[in-house]
């Protein structure tokens, strides 16, 4: 499931001009964890260059954002339940784990929040 979803991320982000404008100073790779699987997401000037599954322990990002598969599924609902609606609302409930150098994450927090939420279901 997650491989299909994560493959959509690049297109969804790069087609969103407002989002890429917000992230125009972002040039880094970060790890996005879904359950036991880590994905490396490389961003340049606010656009996603590459999303790929992490296969080697030496492949590191600047920071990592990890949660369970269920947490991300709830986050990506069109109208998510409380606590799951924003990565910062996941913090007090310990639904998410942040590691690494958090400075670039927090410098560009709304960008990264919106990037991840790009996978949210549209209203049908």
């Amino acid at each position: 499931m997650e491989a299909e979803i994560i493959n959509e991320l690049k297109g969804l982000v790069n087609r969103n001009a407002a989002l890429t404008r917000r992230g125009k100073w972002v040039n880094l790779s970060f790890i996005f964890g879904i359950g036991d699987d880590d994905y490396l997401i490389n961003v340049a000037k606010g656009k996603i260059v590459e999303v790929r599954k992490r296969t080697l322990p030496t492949e590191c990002g600047e920071f990592s954002i990890r949660a369970t598969k269920n947490t991300w599924q709830e986050h990506w609902q069109h109208m998510p339940k409380r606590d799951y609606h924003d990565i910062w609302s996941m913090l007090p409930k310990k639904l998410i784990t942040l590691d690494g150098n958090l400075i670039p994450l927090i410098q560009n927090l709304q960008f990264f929040k919106d990037l991840i939420a790009s996978l949210r279901e549209e209203q049908t």
Binding site: M79, P80, R82, D83, H85, D86, I87, W88, S89, L91, P92, K93, I103, I106, Q107, L109, Q110, K113
Partner: protein
């Protein structure tokens, strides 16, 4: 002539503990004074929808002021030589000085978030003065969940980070226009002000040991919190209500931490019955 809103904005200077503060205040309506306290890191613009609501202003004189360091109220002279840190005592003293400057008689006081917490302190200590208190998103005890130092450091834009932190506190159902207006207020806060406010909200203002002493027969207490509030959660609100005998608590479905500004129409459906009850007292 433009179609002016009914809000009148004015400045005045008041003394608090020997320090002068130039205050900006907005008001509208007539009747029972309803003093409104904004959230940490924001300002009284959060109340503009209530100030323009005739259903409220026909019976209440709605008064919303910017706390010192916030909005169009100045920090005090000499502010640059010390770090801003809002303490419980300073916050109480500022609010009481404001009410006495206005010669208000038995006002209702409504506050949101840190303002909500303060109204609980006032319900205990100023029960004879306030007609009733309304704590929006105001629990008597909270747990910090991030490091406040992120909010004020030179390598992170203060306005952007404050808005990005609190955007989690807006319900996903709230209209996008009002979500971003609410966040805009945070983007405009002074350096370190949100951090200084959270000293009261997260560290100095805990009140759960004294909230059971509140006499709601003398000063009725209303607690209203949003379903999507991540700090003053519905659970913490109900725990607070459980400690204050006679307090009336409501969880606002589909609402976040900023009811009066993030979804004013939905908020009115929750606040009208409270204000009607106060009118009938």
């Amino acid at each position: 002539m433009p179609l002016f809103e009914p809000i009148i904005g004015q400045y005045f200077t008041m003394d608090v503990n020997g320090q002068s503060y130039r205050i900006y205040v907005e008001e509208s309506g007539s009747g029972i004074p309803l003093v409104c306290l904004h959230t940490a890191g924001s300002d009284a613009r959060q109340y503009r929808h209530l100030l323009c609501d005739e259903t409220i202003t026909k019976n209440f004189r709605v008064i919303a002021f910017d706390m010192p360091w916030h909005g169009k109220s100045n920090p005090p002279p000499g502010f640059r030589s010390k770090e801003y840190k809002l303490t419980t005592n300073l916050y109480k003293d500022i609010v009481m000085a404001f009410c006495h400057s206005y010669d208000l008689i038995n006002p209702v006081i409504m506050g949101c978030s840190m303002g909500g917490r303060l109204t609980l302190h006032l319900a205990l200590e100023q029960a004879n003065y306030f007609r009733s208190v309304i704590a929006l998103e105001g629990a008597d005890k909270l747990e910090p969940y991030y490091d406040l130092s992120w909010l004020h450091r030179p390598d992170i834009h203060g306005g952007e980070v404050c808005a990005a932190f609190v955007s989690a506190q807006v319900a996903p159902q709230s209209p996008d226009e009002y979500r971003w207006e609410t966040l805009w207020h945070y983007m405009q806060g002074g350096p370190g002000v949100f951090k200084g406010d959270l000293y009261f909200y997260w560290h100095d203002g805990d009140f759960d040991d004294r909230s059971p002493k509140i006499d709601t027969k003398q000063c009725p207490v209303y607690l209203l919190s949003g379903e999507y509030d991540s700090s003053c959660t519905p659970e913490r609100t109900m725990e607070t209500a459980g400690r204050i005998s006679g307090a009336k608590a409501t969880i606002m479905s589909g609402m976040g931490h900023f009811p009066m500004s993030e979804n004013p129409e939905l908020f009115k459906s929750y606040i009208y019955p409270v204000l009607e009850e106060i009118l009938d007292m």
